[in-house]
Subunit: 294 residues, 4 copies
């Protein structure tokens, strides 16, 4: 299975009481369907998956499966702390038609879970029991746990572990994984401000929160890279840099949702304790997204 | 409500398939009932709450409520990332008869949740809607988020926030909270190796994983402190130091469960990705617990 | 050699051009001579030793040796990154009459120097060649390197390593060192906000920046502890807490120097890039030191 | 002044007593003279500058100035903690003929020096008084202090601050500095495993410890990049990756010196507390440098 190109980890539309808005899921997915996005990651970090019940995750997987164009690859964010629940969710997503599962590093008991042997055990246990292939998901800025390239290389030998989404932004690590993993293992990145250099060293795709709001710009970097138009790739990379920072590290999901609202998608409010951004942040985002279409 | 003395955050008994063993809950609780423990925290970090479904948490709350001696204060670990689910769980625990809820700091979106304003919002939102009082739970070693004494002081003004369990082991922080919080706000600590100095600066109790396996030793420190027998307090503190380190920072829950098995409680296996400890670790724990009764 | 009680790591008096003011060294030392301070640490972190040339350090050692009352124990801060220069400085201090040398953990090449074997090598090499005993100095907040209790325990076996100044504020670590080091090895602490609990678990003294400006208050905590007047110890600890935070973690040396000026010592300006504090910080410090005599 | 291409921060040759070997300085410099290295950085971190006295630094600057080919640009590592001593050293290097000074971020008093305003003050104060241009040097892995792109952008406006050596390996930061700094401000990087992607996003050169031992390989990456032979750049980048990791993050200066010995340079022993590497590490380095000429 090829995981190439740009995938948004889609946001979850809520109303102001915090309930899921099914119609807005449809609206967003149908609008993204008209782009060259490669597929959708449903219930990732950007989807506020840590704020969703299992029932809500399943609902979202079903809704997106219903509205997604058949050309789009469907990935489910299924990772939770326990092996057992991660397997249950993964196989539920498989039944709904998802092609692969994105599973983040477990991290609560850090003194144990920062050890490579615990990380190997977790991912192998999940992959052994999963009915669809696994993409490892590493985002140390959120989890406080980092999986080393050496461990990823070992996991790349597992027949049911096919990819990693590396969101640390650490390009040395990306390069080392590409060098040391089994041929065919796919390294995707998760940090919009560095996709161009990441592609240039061999990353085959990206899962980008930013692509929720401005898919064309990210696809343009990808297409420029693929057609060896390196000037254009660098240029578009520079154009998205500030906007991407604002809706990820600086203002996070609330900022991203505001940018979606600007660009014709439904962003809406996040669930508490996240809150909508203030007017000053709105102005910053408006400026940064000027010229970046939805 | 007085939260004084020693509370174990009780472990969850599983069989080797990872299923909850109700009979072992009964066994453990009835054995702890015979000690001077002040009460039980059910579904805290030590209870592997991050590996439990909501249904399992409710089951455990019901079981412990059924078997606990009426003199024991019942506290429920109800904190999850979202305000809405934390409130739902807290109020379910209240219905079952729990007297207070221990709510850990939310932490996944760290760039947002490390800000005091987000922490204040979360705890105030939960406390406003909770039918029982809230004890803040701060364990930065697991969450990667730390709540500052100044924020705790502000939260201590809320009529439904009555206590904090501070597990960082940072005694300067404990002292500052005691000085700056509203009179009557109760500071408990969560680190067995430092309970004696914590009591000496004003902590009124402790929630100790270690107390699952060796309740008498921890109660002895507490009683020695209360009767101003400072030599005995220091002496018992020294006696538990190594054992406490082994079953918390060094080997974590799997080590603690082994120590429980040694001392006549049911420890059993943890859920994956945690695994039982190796024979070498078992020998270390056996040595360290020699002379420490269950 | 007994390193008991309170030692200020004395500040270095500069004029506004950054030159050392010899007369102010005399003024400060003669004023401290009239207190029950146990001695002086000259050219420690608080003395801005990282901003001093070797010649300036030697000058300061000579000046303080000249003015110090004979009852005061003289300690020299001699630690720099290399073994060879640390030994040279230590033996120069010995010639001038210093009784022991305080040597901080080397830390620039952190990937090497965070390893216990490198730390053991450094301190043993220094101690082997030093003509006076060594006090290890650990301040991870500045150095980014932390020496573990197990390494300190090994170093305590060296006949020429007699003490540690542990400035992390981590009381569990202090307790573990006291338990595991060779009997007679002396543990001092370096964090004024936690001296009372540190004494209560066995620390025999403290090296306190705060004592430059308010020696009596810190001596009072020490004397109260020694005479088992624990209420008084806790009370005075609480009285100094805020002032101590302001002149250490919050405003650092510039804040401390301002507090010295308030209390009849010469503080004066620090060397660049440190700068005098702003008026708002001055007001905070004035308030916090109200009632704390020089 | 153009700071383009590859600069080794040259190691300092010591004998086994820790004394500087002048003849080996000559040997190394004359051998490097025959390469296309752009120049030399003398007394940087790799030169063990933290283990050198001021007199030794001056000696090394003089020796290298004497032996360096006139085509090589000479840069002096002059940064120490205080503004006054950094200025003194910088202007001494200027007298000897050095064209620019590399000045690392001061870092000992981290609570102050992590603030942008302190960093701006330091570099502006140094640059105002320096007789040669300043290159900022940022290596957070050693210093524990990180200078933000926004601060670098502000410093780039200073007429006497012309470049930064960014050694964090963080490519997003490199990209942001290139976007936000004044046109003409030069961004160099300091991490051999990521030079190719760094060049691809606009870095104009690199200061590489690794280039001490294997200058040709690093120059090849640079030349391939300049001639738009991106395949060759990526290929050579991959070939040096493991060797570069070994002699920087894994074994540091002792590993690098061993690699120099392998390749016909004089590496020799480091100063204590650094020590020569063990035979096992020697074997690793021999393997990794196989095929990489001096």
């Amino acid at each position: 299975m090829k995981l190439q190109g740009i995938f948004p980890p889609i946001t979850t539309p809520f109303d102001y009481s915090g309930n899921i808005l099914k119609a807005k899921v449809q609206h967003n997915v149908e609008k993204w369907n008209r782009t060259a996005l490669s597929g959708y990651v449903v219930c990732g970090s950007t989807g506020e998956s840590v704020y969703l019940t299992s029932e809500e995750k399943i609902l979202l997987w079903e809704l997106v499966a219903q509205y997604a164009d058949s050309s789009k690859l469907l990935l489910a964010g299924t990772g939770v702390e326990s092996v057992r629940e991660t397997v249950t969710l993964t196989n539920r997503a498989a039944e709904i038609g998802y092609k692969a599962a994105m599973v983040r590093t477990p991290h609560y008991y850090k003194n144990v879970l920062n050890k490579p042997e615990s990380q190997l055990l977790y991912f192998r246990s999940v992959a052994d029991q999963a009915k669809i292939p696994i993409m490892i998901y590493n985002w140390p800025q959120a989890t406080g746990v980092d999986i080393a390239p050496e461990a990823v290389a070992q996991l790349s030998e597992h027949p049911n572990i096919i990819a990693i989404k590396e969101s640390s932004g650490n390009i040395e690590k990306v390069m080392q994984m590409i060098r040391e993993c089994k041929p065919g293992f796919q390294v995707l990145v998760g940090s919009a401000p560095t996709i161009w250099p990441s592609f240039s060293v061999g990353a085959v795709g990206a899962v980008l929160a930013f692509a929720n709001a401005a898919p064309y710009a990210t696809i343009t970097v990808w297409e420029a890279y693929r057609t060896r138009d390196f000037e254009a790739a660098a240029d578009w990379q520079a154009r998205i840099a500030r906007a991407a920072q604002l809706v990820t590290t600086k203002y996070g999901i609330p900022g991203l949702k505001y940018a979606m609202d600007l660009n014709g998608y439904y962003g809406g409010p996040p669930r508490l304790p996240l809150t909508p951004i203030c007017p000053k942040a709105q102005r910053e985002i408006e400026q940064a997204f000027d010229g970046l279409n939805g």
